[in-house]
């Protein structure tokens, strides 16, 4: 009979081997799912993971990879800090919307002023917007001990309603003949988050994501604050004895993840999306949770996981158009990935032993 034995320390090998293993298992289970939907599983998996990168139309899909990966990585980096410290911000979707609204709001307020200051101000406003939205659960948690999971999540629904109110009300395009949605920032060069290198999908959000990965890496491996974050997650009691103030960590972790999510929203609304509209948010804030775990809460891992997840989005779109695979199947596929990851994580913390029946 099988028996679990707790490892004194998490296995280093399995720590890095479980994400690829989980991806493999998800591909197999996903293949079975696609087969059940009446599609050729090999064809579907190839369409999702191979064709966007190396297929006939790769020139179109490759830039998309960076566009989709940037917000996922930005948000997931912020979330990973909190997750490490045991601060569960799961309302990144709301902070993403808040950042997009404040960022776009600043841009629209300056319209049609043509000056280089507009875009930096929008970036600042986006980060502040996301930060402020995340400060609500943070301060409630510190002051009243309110559960940050529930509050941050409730605020997602509030943010969605706010987005709708803005798209239909104050931010509606005055020249839009009454259609919902704001002016398109793509037609306003001073506020447009254009590609830095044309045709690559490399916009300012991608640059921000790269910077975030590097800073997070330095923070966690070289800085005292990073050490405190890790300590608070792994040994809360020891952390308190060594002078870590939990309230301060909550504010920092939620604030950082909020600001990064806000930045992601702002870059998205000023670039790929272009305008504030009712259906602006597509769930990056939730998918980023999967990205953070798949990347083992490690900055480099998150960068890789973000790219992989972006691939499933793009490949999913491709499979939707060429194979008629339903969009929901991809969503399910992403959910499965997190499931399998959590399941195989057992191998990291426990040793599976085969036990012979012992005499009592």
């Amino acid at each position: 009979m099988l028996r679990l034995e707790k490892r004194p320390q998490p296995s280093r090998v399995w720590t890095w081997a479980t994400p690829p293993l989980a991806v493999m298992i998800t591909m197999i289970a996903g293949g079975a799912l696609f087969a059940a939907l009446g599609k050729d599983p090999a064809e579907a998996i190839a369409t999702i993971f191979w064709k966007p990168l190396f297929g006939e139309f790769a020139f179109y899909y490759r830039p998309q990879l960076l566009i989709k990966a940037a917000p996922l990585i930005l948000i997931a980096i912020g979330l990973s800090l909190g997750f490490r410290a045991g601060v569960w911000n799961i309302g990144a979707e709301g902070q993403y919307i808040a950042g997009a609204l404040t960022g776009a709001g600043v841009g629209l307020a300056f319209y049609p002023l043509d000056s280089w200051v507009v875009f930096p101000l929008m970036v600042l406003a986006g980060a502040l917007g996301g930060w402020a939205w995340a400060m609500i659960p943070a301060l409630l948690k510190v002051r009243f001990g309110t559960n940050e999971i529930l509050v941050s999540l409730m605020l997602v629904y509030v943010a969605e309603q706010l987005l709708a109110a803005m798209a239909l009300g104050p931010m509606r395009n005055p020249d839009g003949r009454g259609f919902p949605g704001s002016r398109n920032l793509r037609d306003y060069p001073a506020a447009h988050n254009a590609e830095i290198i044309s045709g690559t999908g490399m916009h300012w959000g991608v640059a921000a994501a790269v910077i975030a990965v590097i800073l997070a890496y330095v923070l966690l491996s070289r800085h005292l604050l990073g050490f405190h974050i890790r300590l608070a997650g792994q040994a809360p009691r020891a952390a308190r004895f060594s002078g870590v103030r939990p309230g301060r960590l909550v504010v920092i972790c939620l604030g950082t993840s909020g600001a990064l999510a806000g930045l992601a929203g702002m870059f998205e609304v000023a670039g790929p999306a272009g305008q504030v509209s009712i259906d602006f948010n597509v769930g990056y804030g939730f998918t980023a949770i999967i990205v953070a775990f798949l990347g083992r809460l490690h900055p480099v891992g998150i960068a890789l996981a973000g790219i992989l997840m972006a691939l499933t989005y793009i490949g999913g779109e491709m499979a939707q158009s060429t194979l008629g695979l339903p969009a929901a199947a991809i969503q399910l596929f992403q959910g499965m990935l997190l499931f399998f990851l959590l399941a195989v994580d057992l191998l990291t913390n426990y040793r599976v032993r085969f036990r012979h029946r012992e005499a009592a």
């Binding site: 009243f144 559960n147 529930l150 706010l162 057992l346």
Partner: protein, 304 residues
């Protein structure tokens, strides 16, 4: 602004409260067993589509509700396997369950958009329904409303007076001590999780089969999360869950009525109110942390 009939309002409140009441009751039992399942939203929406699909195909809402409970429980079984056998983090597993459930439900629901489900008859309570005011408020509903109320009483009595309830609470308060006494911690928790899943599924199906009644993607709209908040609000007590559900049902119904009445406030701001009230209530209630089961969210492994 037209006058709002208080009897109609209260009757609508009973209906609006039922889905979150069911889901919150299930979660209450799960949390009293020491498990935090954040996947309520995922189980609710899965229950909503399972119940809807089966009810449409069989023509019987009753069979639909049974299927919804089954669907919710099957999804909960995944959570149980992850957290009780694979010893995974409960917060992460619950989130995974919600993401998975949302995806699964929209996949299952593809052929069911725009269809009307078979109607659920109102329970005939004879002369009781003819009592002025009270008849309209209390005795004019479908069977599920009364089942939910009966379930509140059953859960309350089970936790308070039965041996099974005592064991469940022991497991939730101190799993090591319960294990030392010879109770099967994992078995108790798996059963509690399954019960929670079935309840969430019923709650979801109540939305898709009776409250709305049709199928749209993501139609539970955070009801599962409100149910989670409700358990905190209720200080893990069954009776207070009922109170909380009525409060949220009341807020929902009131804001819908205000929307219909054409108030000068944009609809979106009114739609925010249930979520904002939830936050407010959480803040007020979170001062009292002592009521939470002591082993809530902790991983149990018999080796230690």
């Amino acid at each position: 602004m037209g006058a709002i009939d208080p009897a109609l309002l209260l009757a609508a409140l009973m209906v609006a409260a039922t889905p979150i009441l069911l889901a919150a009751l299930g979660e209450l039992v799960v949390e009293r067993a020491g498990v935090l399942n954040l996947g309520v939203e995922g189980m609710m929406i899965t229950g909503a589509i399972c119940g809807f699909a089966v009810a449409v195909n069989t023509g019987s809402p009753a069979v639909g509700f049974v299927a919804a409970a089954g669907g919710g429980a099957v999804l909960a079984l995944l959570f149980a396997a992850l957290t009780q056998l694979a010893l995974a983090n409960q917060v992460a597993s619950g989130l995974a369950l919600t993401l998975f459930g949302l995806g699964l439900s929209s996949l299952l629901g593809q052929g069911y958009v725009g269809i009307k489900p078979p109607p659920t008859p109102r329970l005939d309570l004879g002369p009781l329904s003819d009592i002025p005011f009270l008849g309209r408020v209390l005795f004019s509903h479908d069977l599920m409303v009364y089942l939910a109320l009966a379930l509140v009483a059953a859960v309350w009595a089970m936790l308070k007076y039965t041996r099974a309830g005592l064991i469940l609470r022991a497991v939730g308060e101190n799993h090591d001590a319960a294990h030392a006494l010879g109770y099967k911690v994992v078995r108790v928790r798996v059963l509690a999780i399954l019960f929670g899943g079935a309840c969430a599924g019923l709650g979801g199906a109540y939305i898709s089969l009776i409250r709305v009644p049709q199928w749209t993607e993501g139609m539970t709209a955070g009801g599962g999360w409100i149910a989670l908040a409700l358990v905190v609000f209720a200080s893990w007590k069954a009776g207070r869950v009922l109170l909380g559900a009525w409060l949220f049902g009341g807020v929902t119904v009131l804001q819908l009525n205000l929307q219909a009445a054409g108030l000068a406030i944009p609809v979106e701001y009114l739609s925010m109110s249930p979520y904002l009230i939830t936050i407010l209530v959480l803040v007020i209630m979170s001062a009292d942390k002592s009521r939470a089961p002591a082993s809530l969210g902790r991983i149990f492994h018999a080796s230690q």
